[in-house]
Symmetry: C2
Subunit: 200 residues, 2 copies
DNA sequence: GTACGATACGGAGGACCCCGCCACTTAGCA
DNA sequence: TGCTAAGTGGCGGGGTCCTCCGTATCGTAC
């Protein structure tokens, strides 16, 4: 635990490379065993570096997450807060829809993440927070809209369009729909405006 | 193939009942093997009645899908087309978010469904089509919005909020957000210009 | 009431995967 | 050059999915 041995680092890199390819090919449920086989290491080694599938996926998509965070920081400076936020959402959609398995790692995992609390989600949350706040200040989005909401919406869209012939295009279509509103009406207080009623 | 034997029907019913319980308990990835065990039949029998997990899930949620279709037909008569559509979307959200695994069966499955083309999706599509058309005619939704779009959006939201402490409430929140629009402005054809964004 | 044929059943077996354990190798420091 | 702990790989156990095939059972015709 002190410092990682050199061979371990090499193995890690190799496994990660194989994992990327494998996830790209088979999506989020790529076989860890298969990754080990292709990488030419024992399956135990893979699991040592990545305890659990989620960890593996997080590692695979780490670069992309960082790219998204960097983009968010750039965009936080933009003059048009609304356009900036929308562009970032578009970028997120493109990433999530084109990289199989990425959406799965963005959806919060109930129990097993309390310890380090879904690393990428937190990371993204921090980086994008300013974007959303700027947009809220400009009146482009509601005050109660959180980063998590937006990410959830996009990941949901991505998951739902995963098997579509052209996932990226379809995801962007649905995103546009959600941005514009399915059926927007200016909020009127005291009307039925709070969303949906309970039903049977 | 002529007529089903009586014992087969009984087994089917029993397995279906167990499957419902099992899916409710463990979600969409409930073990077929486990279902067989609990139902006291061989695993082959389960898969004879339900070839593949999707078939099982479709059977499990068949009643709910029918209920939703019935609701849609009722609502098609409503005076306020927009309210009708929104209520139906709310109902769908409640169903999908409260019944674990239902969302998974609503998301179209690329290849294996071409033969009978995702039974429930088609069924819902047919029943809800009038609702959407009415709403479109009333100008409540865009002309290019399809049933599939709306269902995809809701199922996506459901998938993304699956692990949330209170999935139903959270799903409804996001649905409301999507209905109102994340940041509605009309840069798109044919819609009236609302002009300024800063509404709220 | 019985005998027969189609229908449905269930268990065995193969393939795959995840996971934990443990003896062995090897890198890195003294 | 040794020594030690980090790192490794393979094995076995438990689980699932899926297919095949002998067998029991149902429904019917006689």
């Amino acid at each position: 635990m002190t410092v990682r041995r050199a061979d371990a680092q090499r193995n890690y890199a190799r496994i990660l490379a194989v994992a990327e390819a494998e996830v790209a090919a088979h999506g989020a449920e790529a076989s860890l065993e298969q990754i080990a086989r292709v990488a030419g290491v024992g399956s135990a080694t893979v699991r040592r570096h990545f305890p659990g599938r989620r960890a593996m996926l997080q590692a695979v998509f780490h670069e992309r997450v960082e790219a998204l965070c960097a983009r968010a920081e750039e965009l936080a400076e933009a003059a048009d807060a609304r356009a900036a936020l929308l562009e970032w959402l578009g970028a997120l959609t493109t990433y999530a829809a084109s990289a199989r398995g990425m959406a799965d790692v963005l959806v919060p995992d109930g129990q097993a993440e309390a310890d380090h609390a879904n690393a990428c989600a937190v990371q993204i949350g921090g980086a994008v927070e300013p974007l959303v706040r700027n947009a809220a200040k400009a009146g482009a989005v509601g005050q109660d809209v959180t980063v998590a909401d937006l990410v959830a919406l996009v990941t949901g869209i991505t998951l739902a369009t995963e098997r579509h012939p052209d996932p990226v295009a379809e995801a962007h279509r649905l995103l546009a729909l959600a941005v514009q509103g399915i059926s927007p009406i200016s909020p009127r207080p005291a009307q039925d405006g709070d969303g949906t009623a309970a039903e049977r």
